[in-house]
Amino acid sequence: MTDFDALLKRSFAEAHEPADDGFVVNVTHRVAKREADLKVRGYMQVGAITIGAAAVSWGLYAFAGAFSQDVAASAGLEVARLHAAVSTAPDAGAAAQGFVQSLGAGLTQILLVTAALAGGAVAYRATQE
C-alpha cells in the first residue's frame, strides 16, 4: 500500500457523517405507512375470499335448488340400472360394461356439477382480483 492509499483510507475514515436532520423520522414514517397499507391489503384479501366463498356457496345452493330433484332421480335410476346390470350378469365383463353404461348415462349430471364448480371458481377468482 502506497502512502497515498493510506492517506486515502484515512480521509475516507475521517470524513464526517451527515447529521440526522429528520432522516430517521422520514424512514420510520414510511415504514409505518407501509405496514398500515399491508394490513389494509390483508383485510381486503380476507374480504375478497369471503365474498368468493359466499358466491360459490350461493351458486351451488341455486344449482341444487333447480336441479336437485332431477339429479337425485337420475342418480337413483343409474344406481338401479347398475344394480340390475350387476345382478343379471354376474361375470366381471358384463358388470364392467354395465358400469360404463351407467357412467355414460350419468355424464350429463357430472358435467353439470363440474360446470357449476367451475363457475363458482371463476366467480371466486373474479372477486379476488
Binding site: 497515498f4 492509499d5 486515502l8 475516507f12 457523517e17 451527515p18 440526522d20 432522516f23 424512514v27 414510511r30
Partner: protein, 185 residues
C-alpha cells in the same frame, strides 16, 4: 422510547435491535436506522453526486432492508448485508438514468480540472469534491475499495461488474484522486 422487550432502546445492542426488527418491531428498526443512517448516507453521498439523491436512495435502501430483514441470517452480517442493498439500490437508480458502468472510455478525465477555481488557486480539494470529479463507476469502485475496505473480488460480487473493469475503475479513480488531492505528487 419503549419497545417490545426493551426498557430503553438506546441501550440495546445492535444485534438485539436487529432481532426485534426482524419480528417487525418498528421502534427497534427506528433505533437501528438512527444508529446506521450516518454511515449509510455517507456511503451513498460518496457514490452519488447529489446529497438529495443520496438521501433518497438511503431511505429506499432502509425500506428495502425493513422488507427483507427476515432474510438476514445473523445480526453480525448486517453491515455487509445492508451495504449490498445500498449498492444495489444505487446501481438500479443509475441504470434507470442509463448510466454505463461496464465501459472504460474516460481517457482524459481531468481535462476540466484546470478550469476550476480550486485548481487555479492550487488549493487542495476535499475528498467529497474530488470524488465528485470521478465518473459514477470510478466513484463507486473507489468508495467500496478505499472507503469500505472491500477487495476487488468483493466489489465484483456486490456490483456484478467484471473483475478487469473493477480493477481499472479503482486504478483510474485512485490515480485521479491522487492528482486532485495531492497535486504535488
Amino acid at each position: 422510547m419503549v419497545s417490545r422487550g426493551f426498557t430503553h432502546l438506546a441501550e440495546a445492542t445492535e444485534a438485539a435491535l436487529i432481532i426485534a426488527a426482524q419480528a417487525k418491531d418498528q421502534a427497534a428498526f427506528g433505533e437501528l436506522v438512527k444508529r446506521r443512517q450516518g454511515w449509510a448516507r455517507a456511503l451513498l453521498r460518496r457514490m452519488c453526486q447529489s446529497h438529495a439523491e443520496a438521501d433518497d436512495l438511503a431511505q429506499e435502501a432502509f425500506i428495502k432492508a425493513w422488507d427483507r430483514l427476515r432474510d438476514l441470517e445473523t445480526p453480525a452480517a448486517f453491515p455487509g448485508w445492508f451495504r449490498r442493498i445500498a449498492v444495489t439500490t444505487f446501481l438500479m437508480a443509475k441504470r434507470r438514468q442509463k448510466a454505463v458502468f461496464e465501459e472504460i472510455t474516460d481517457a482524459s478525465p481531468l481535462a476540466s480540472e484546470e478550469s476550476t477555481p480550486e485548481a487555479a488557486a492550487g488549493a487542495k480539494l476535499d475528498l467529497e469534491k474530488a470524488l465528485a470529479r470521478l465518473s459514477d463507476a470510478e466513484r463507486l469502485c473507489v468508495t467500496l475499495n478505499h472507503g469500505e475496505g472491500l477487495s476487488h473480488s468483493e466489489i465484483v460480487e456486490i456490483t456484478g461488474l467484471p473483475l478487469g473493469t473493477v480493477k481499472s475503475h479503482v486504478l483510474r479513480g485512485t490515480d485521479k484522486l491522487r492528482r486532485l488531492l495531492d497535486p504535488d505528487s
